[in-house]
């Protein structure tokens, strides 16, 4: 009997130590750090994910040139360019999301967004003439998708995939983790894009603290959580907060809300929707929720302006 009791004790201790096993990594890409925690799998899985994040960061980079055919190169040419199948698909996805409710997301806003950033850095509102010039550029530009991964940029507007590339890379990470039969993980793409598997606890739910709501958190698992917020990159001039999120129709940098959180099954769409919904009415948001099977939480002045009825908000 003694042996049995001791064996049970040892087994329970071993089980406890195995439950706490976690492999973590932090890789600098997409202009932030992507933190990955795998509660299953091995170091090779982490390395594979790091490689993938770095690759997508490089091909979507519109600020720096690198050894790959990337957005920076596309923005400096009106010639036909052969790109990788990955970049071709990423670009295609970024233009297709407007057909899935992200009507205020336009990847051709790169130059306008940069002009706003420069202006806000010196605490100035972007000059109306410059804004109108940029809107004209956006409306008269396009990207043609041809056969054999060939694309051609028309016009002067610059492509910026900042609002979608991270979510897209997380989609690829999810596919990889599924192929490796890894179910328990948390990938944090600089807080604005999360990929959640199942936590190793009773209900599998992760707790997600919300910065824009004091001492509140939500729970989620097996989904993407995409956040757009003015709190970090917003600049207050007078009583108005100007954001890095730009309305592609009128060039305005004034958002309707402080934060929009989208819970979805698609990282790229979730990221694009959270950006676009900063300009959408609540009725529009409700319609998109129905059409695209997403759940949305909208925050304004530290209060919940709208939340999908299935989202539960807890106090800490």
């Amino acid at each position: 009997m003694k042996k049995k009791i001791l064996s049970l004790f040892v087994i329970s201790l071993v089980s406890c130590s195995q439950a706490s096993k976690v492999i973590e990594s932090k890789v600098f890409c997409f202009d932030t750090y992507i933190s990955t925690s795998l509660y299953e799998g091995n170091k090779d899985n982490i390395l594979e994910l790091e490689k993938s994040f770095t690759y997508y960061s490089k091909i979507s980079d519109n600020y720096n040139d690198n050894d790959l055919v990337n957005v920076y190169k596309i923005n400096r040419s009106n010639e036909e360019i052969t790109v990788s199948s990955e970049l071709y698909d990423l670009l295609k996805t970024s233009f297709d999301v407007k057909n899935h409710g992200a009507k205020y997301f336009n990847p051709l806003c790169g130059s306008l967004a940069n002009k706003w950033k420069e202006s806000l850095k010196s605490k100035h509102i972007l000059d109306e003439n410059i804004k109108n010039e940029e809107i004209l550029k956006i409306n008269s530009s396009s990207l043609d998708f041809k056969e054999n991964n060939i694309i051609q940029r028309n016009g002067e507007a610059e492509i910026d995939l900042g609002g979608i590339a991270k979510g897209y890379a997380l989609d690829k990470a999810k596919d990889y983790l599924k192929s490796q039969n890894i179910k328990s993980y948390l990938v944090n793409g600089g807080s604005s894009s999360l990929l959640l598997g199942e936590k190793k606890n009773k209900d599998g739910l992760f707790s997600i603290g919300i910065s824009d709501l004091d001492n509140k958190y939500i729970k989620a698992k097996n989904c993407f959580v995409s956040t757009s917020a003015t709190s970090l990159q917003g600049v207050k001039i007078g009583d108005i907060t100007y954001s890095h999120i730009i309305n592609p129709f009128d060039g305005s940098a004034i958002n309707l809300y402080d934060a929009v959180i989208v819970i979805s099954n698609n990282g790229a769409l979730g990221d694009a929707l959270s950006t676009s919904m900063m300009f959408s009415s609540i009725d529009e948001i409700k319609q998109i929720e129905k059409d695209e099977d997403v759940k949305v939480l909208v925050i304004k002045d530290n209060e919940i302006k709208y939340k999908n009825e299935s989202i539960e908000v807890f106090s800490r």
């Binding site: 932090k26 750090y33 603290g209 970090l232 990159q233």
Partner: protein, 124 residues
């Protein structure tokens, strides 16, 4: 089974229960102490570890990838108060005391993570 064996078994069971109870109490008390540690990394290398639970006011000057950052601690929280980065996102974050809410200065490849007890897995 004689009386002696039965008594020894009971002693063993009680001892194991005591060990388990003490371990549990230890784990719970450690969680409650809320020992917050800030780790400052530059290009993934930890260059400074700060015990925030001391609540000391202190200045740190961290050499980042493209310049020096002024990091300040007070009241158990940490902030980047000066940086040469173009967008100043890291400075705008202000004082942070929450775990799972890193301060990132992408321009200087600086990452400040706060470790310790938390009831959330991640902050957004």
């Amino acid at each position: 089974m004689n009386k002696k064996t039965l008594r020894n078994d009971l002693i063993l069971i009680l001892s194991l229960i005591t060990v388990a109870a003490v371990s549990l109490a230890l784990v719970l008390s450690l969680r409650k102490t809320n020992n917050l540690i800030a780790k400052i990394s530059v290009q993934n290398n930890v260059v400074e570890t700060i015990d925030l639970s001391k609540k000391e006011e202190h200045d740190y000057f961290i050499k980042g990838l493209n310049g020096e950052l002024h990091v300040h601690t007070k009241d158990g929280a940490i902030a980047i108060v000066e940086s040469n980065c173009p967008h100043q996102d890291c400075v705008k974050m202000g004082y942070v005391h929450e775990t799972n809410k890193p301060i990132i200065c992408a321009y200087n490849a600086v990452y400040i993570a706060i470790e310790g007890a938390s009831n959330v897995d991640v902050e957004i």
